[in-house]
């Protein structure tokens, strides 16, 4: 006789949040991902996020899946169904739930009623007991317990179990025994739920066609693929969370796409270095010698690269640095997300330096911008940072499929050939021939007698001859500024999203804030609050960014850091009125949510209308 569920108070189809609370190292990750992918295969968009500790085994870890037919990719906040598999975090997990939500737990060991909440529906399944009865091997008991709860969920949420079976078939292709064992465990859980629980509950996944041709991929994988498509041949890196999987994915892609079919040799060189100094040193050496090179790291690595970055800026050597940002400062929160390296990267190194930064909004743009960064670095002969973060880098995101135009060619920038030198072209390594601040260069070994020059971080004249003459130094620094102005025209332009009605209120955001921002704009609009949005995609800022600030009385700048770092760059480099720029800051290490942004902006707007913003004194 099915046990009736108590207090079913929610009724949501294709629009709810499931959170899995697990113990790190228990093998739950692939089961949780299986669940998310099964929802996707039913044509319903999901947004998934890992929340994990800096630990290999034993500490708590969470996986949040937002099921959203409307396609919201940001975190919503709150949890409708908690899969509470970690006794350590029980209390806080239960507390985080929305009223009327569902709590699925392992009821093998009974818990006193005091550990539950009155306003949520409790679903007990004796997962451990079921596994212990079925499996003798402790490892199997652990692993299949995860598949078991996926089976339970498939029943509770009325999912198409055939999709899960298909996914298992793809995952274990060629290992028929494993497929059968997993499918068995899946049905063990599913059947138990169907027999003993009232299925489905008030949350349901209903087949739809809202996914389209979108792909489900993490940003690190995408950035690595972008480096392959963009023609990078040298990668030098030092392991650091959350960037490590960029290099690992690059290795994987190179094995697939860069192996010479005839010789089996590699059309790339990947070196795991002794530290980040060596990593950036190798990138600079390789790029100086005409290869496309990149490194992937996080804040602490960028800190170590400072001296070299100044050299690359001043000696004008291309370099691509993928910075997968994490919580700082120091080792900070290594497994949590932030956008807190902007100033570190923008002004990296000693002396007067400024660097080009790109801000991808999702894995699709990680792919695009990695390839773009390789072109820009060559074109501008300077370091270019791809500023992604843990949220984009290490989570699977649903995004537009990758696109490549086969007629596209690498832009190697201004490189003088042996023929041009032979024909008598005047070669001055640091000479601004074209008025855009970008000089010409030669690769070593080009011509027997012409075009050789000496690269140094110390001051030199337009013909690369050592000099400490003040006026020559100043001319060169001015040329570098011209080059930076050229960069502002070449980087990806900001993307506007105007409000439905003309408004004097704007919001600027960038990077992984985009999905939460999109949703927040909808929420604000619903409250009658009209806000023009601008998604900044690069530094230096194009004119469109400064114009946007000028066209509005108040501009919120939404960021995932404490110090309003993009706002600082806008004030520093954009010469805009600082009083106009109101920071909206989220920096607890979890990805920013739509609720937070909408709430903060709505609150600040109501305060602004009561007390009108005073103009800055002249």
């Amino acid at each position: 006789m099915p046990q009736p569920l108590e207090r079913p108070t929610m009724d949501k189809t294709n629009d709810f949040v499931v959170k899995f609370a697990n113990v790190n190292g228990s093998g739950s990750a692939s089961a949780n991902q299986l669940f998310a992918k099964a929802v996707l295969r039913m044509g319903v968009p999901v947004a998934s996020r890992n929340i994990f500790p800096s630990n290999i085994q034993g500490l708590p870890t969470w996986y949040e899946v937002r099921v959203s037919e409307a396609g919201h990719r940001g975190r919503r906040g709150g949890v409708d169904l908690m899969v509470a598999m970690n006794p350590q975090t029980w209390d806080r997990d239960v507390a985080e739930m929305e009223p009327g939500g569902y709590l699925l737990y392992d009821s093998t060991k009974p818990l006193p009623p005091s550990r539950f909440r009155d306003d949520v529906t409790v679903i007990g399944v004796p997962l451990t007991a079921l596994c212990n009865a079925e499996y003798a091997d402790p490892r199997q008991r652990q692993l299949f317990k995860n598949i078991l709860y996926v089976g339970v969920l498939s029943a509770l949420l009325d999912m198409d179990v055939a999709e899960i079976e298909r996914l298992l078939g793809e995952q274990f292709k060629g290992k028929e025994k494993l497929i059968a064992a997993n499918v068995h465990a899946l049905h063990l859980g599913r059947d138990h739920a169907l027999e003993t629980l009232q299925c489905p509950i008030g949350l349901r996944v209903k087949r739809s066609d809202a996914v389209g041709d979108r792909i489900f991929v993490d940003g690190n994988n995408a950035a690595a693929l972008g480096c392959v498509y963009g023609g990078a041949t040298v990668a030098a890196w030092y392991p650091i969370t959350p960037s490590t999987s960029v290099a690992e994915a690059f290795m994987k892609h190179c094995k697939a796409f860069r192996t010479d079919p005839d010789t089996g040799k590699a059309r790339c060189a990947i070196v795991q270095t002794e530290d980040e100094l060596a990593a950036i040193g190798m990138v600079i050496g390789a790029a100086w010698n005409g290869a496309r090179a990149f490194t992937a790291t996080s804040g602490p690595g960028i800190s170590l690269m400072q001296e070299f970055l100044g050299l690359a800026y001043f000696a004008e050597i291309p370099a691509v640095i993928i910075d997968v940002q994490r919580g700082g400062p120091s080792t900070g929160m290594p497994t949590r997300t932030q956008q807190s390296d902007l100033l570190l990267a923008a002004y990296a190194s000693h002396g007067d330096t400024k660097h080009v930064l790109l801000f991808p909004e999702d894995p699709r743009e990680c792919f695009d911008f990695a390839a773009t960064a390789l072109d820009l670095a060559d074109r501008l002969q300077t370091p270019v940072f791809v500023m992604t973060d843990l949220d984009i880098g290490m989570n699977d995101w649903l995004c537009e499929p990758f696109v490549w135009d086969d007629s596209r060619r690498m832009d190697r920038g201004k490189v003088m050939t042996a023929e041009e030198l032979e024909a008598g072209a005047d070669f001055g390594r640091y000479k601004d021939v074209d008025g855009d601040g970008i000089p010409w260069r030669t690769y070593p070994g080009t011509h027997p007698t012409k075009g050789a020059y000496f690269t140094r971080g110390t001051s030199r004249d337009p013909y690369a001859r050592y000099t400490e003459e003040g006026s020559v130094y100043v001319d060169n620094m001015q040329r570098l500024l011209r080059k930076f102005a050229t960069a502002a025209q070449l980087v990806p332009a900001a993307v506007p999203r105007p409000a439905r009605q003309p408004t004097r209120v704007g919001v600027i955001h960038y990077g992984s804030t985009a999905p939460a921002m999109q949703e927040a704009l909808g929420m604000l609009d619903g409250q009658g609050l009209h806000v023009d949005a601008l998604r900044v995609r690069a530094f230096p800022f194009g004119d469109e960014v400064i114009d946007f600030v000028e066209r509005h009385d108040t501009v919120f700048v939404v960021e995932q850091n404490r110090d309003a770092q993009l706002r600082t760059l806008l004030v520093n480099e954009g010469a805009v009125d600082p009083a106009k720029l109101v920071p909206v800051l989220h920096y607890d290490g979890t990805p920013i949510t739509a609720r937070f942004i909408a709430g903060d902006i709505a609150g600040k707007l109501s305060a602004l209308t009561i007390v009108p913003l005073r103009k800055a004194l002249p």
């Binding site: 040298v234 060596a278 790029a287 070593p444 070994g445 011509h447 690269t455 110390t458």
Partner: protein, 350 residues
């Protein structure tokens, strides 16, 4: 200021097999102190490259920071050069080598640059087997910052101002042997007859070649009490052997007094003939080289010569199994998998 020498071709000057004269291998006029050991090493590099018939533009010269690291400006003016940052030449050179395996790479560094700030990069370059000649111009002090002890300064040696160095020295030759360098030797800037062939053999070696060259700093470390002065090095020089390099195109003549000479055939077929002076360990034996070095060092002697060579050593490119074409010459078609492949990648991500 850099002074450029007036350049004219004197038909009377002897030229090498490529038609270059010695002058084609020179660089700008040195701005180092008169008598600085580093200038003699630059001259030895010029001589070695001239004699090896190396096309100057096919060599890339890289350095760190220091008086020694300035010297690449003063030789091989037709080569691309890179004066990088303090202690980090090895990584920049490694990257350059990865980009184009076809050039000859010469890394020039100082004892401060390699044994103090850059020790990490030094050992990792040795163990990675980057195909290059790595020269440390060793004077036991920081010349450019005016005479502080470096990490190769001997314990108990005196600075010009009278301070006594309390710390044990780092011996880069021992370290290079231990870290897997496949060609290891030591020279003395005051002994060109030994140094030029050492450089020639090292440039011909495939894999990582390391030369520690004692190079007295006349301004800050050439006084009594210093163990890196001209006098001290001359007095304590325990010459292990004197090499002589025969290019592969020259047949080895019969009058080369067999028995006395040890010959090593390098990767490219050129032959190094070694005339033993003091000591008789097998130069192919790394452990024997380390023992010999340790024994002579314990006696306070400075061992010079070619101490160890593995003529069949591979390099970093072998380990990474990179294609024969230099990576910097691969084109779009060779690098970009294209749209059709991307469609398959997309399909696998759904």
């Amino acid at each position: 200021m850099t002074y450029l020498k007036p350049h004219f071709r004197n038909p009377a000057l002897p030229s090498n097999a490529l038609g270059y004269t010695r002058r084609d291998y020179e660089g700008a006029v040195s701005t180092l102190c008169a008598g600085c050991g580093h200038d003699s090493i630059s001259a030895a590099i010029v001589q070695a490259c001239f004699e090896l018939d190396l096309p100057p533009h096919r060599l890339a010269k890289l350095s760190g920071i220091g008086c020694s690291s300035k010297t690449p400006t003063y030789f091989l003016g037709a080569s691309h050069g890179f004066n990088s940052v303090h202690g980090r030449m090895p990584s920049v050179l490694t990257g350059a080598n990865l980009a184009n395996r076809d050039l000859v790479y010469l890394g020039v560094s100082g004892d401060g640059d390699s044994a103090s700030i850059g020790l990490g990069q030094f050992v990792h370059a040795m163990r990675r087997g980057v195909n290059m000649l790595y020269i440390v111009e060793n004077n036991g002090v920081y010349g450019l910052t005016k005479g502080q002890f470096s990490a190769t300064a001997d314990k108990g040696s005196k600075s010009k101002k009278g301070a006594v160095n309390p710390d044990d020295p780092i011996d880069l030759v021992s370290l290079a042997l231990q870290m897997g360098a496949t060609f290891v030797g030591r020279g003395f800037s005051g002994d060109k007859a030994q140094l030029v062939p050492l450089i020639k053999a090292a440039l011909r070696h495939r894999g990582v070649a390391f030369l520690d060259v004692l190079s007295p700093c006349v301004t800050f470390n050439n006084h009594p009490g210093s163990t890196k002065s001209y006098d001290y090095v001359r007095e304590h020089n325990a010459v292990f052997n004197r090499p002589d390099v025969v290019p592969h195109r020259e047949a080895i003549t019969a009058d080369s007094a067999p028995g006395e000479l040890v010959t090593v055939t390098l990767h490219d077929g050129s032959v190094v003939r070694l005339r033993p002076v003091a000591g008789d360990h097998d130069v192919h034996d790394r452990i024997a080289a380390m023992n010999h070095l340790a024994e002579r060092q314990a006696e306070g002697e400075i061992v010079t010569g070619l101490l160890y060579v593995d003529p069949d050593a591979g390099d970093l490119h072998d380990r990474l199994n990179t294609v024969d074409t230099p990576l910097n010459r691969l084109n779009d078609a060779e690098l970009c998998p294209g749209a059709a492949t991307l469609a398959r990648v997309n399909a696998a991500l759904r």
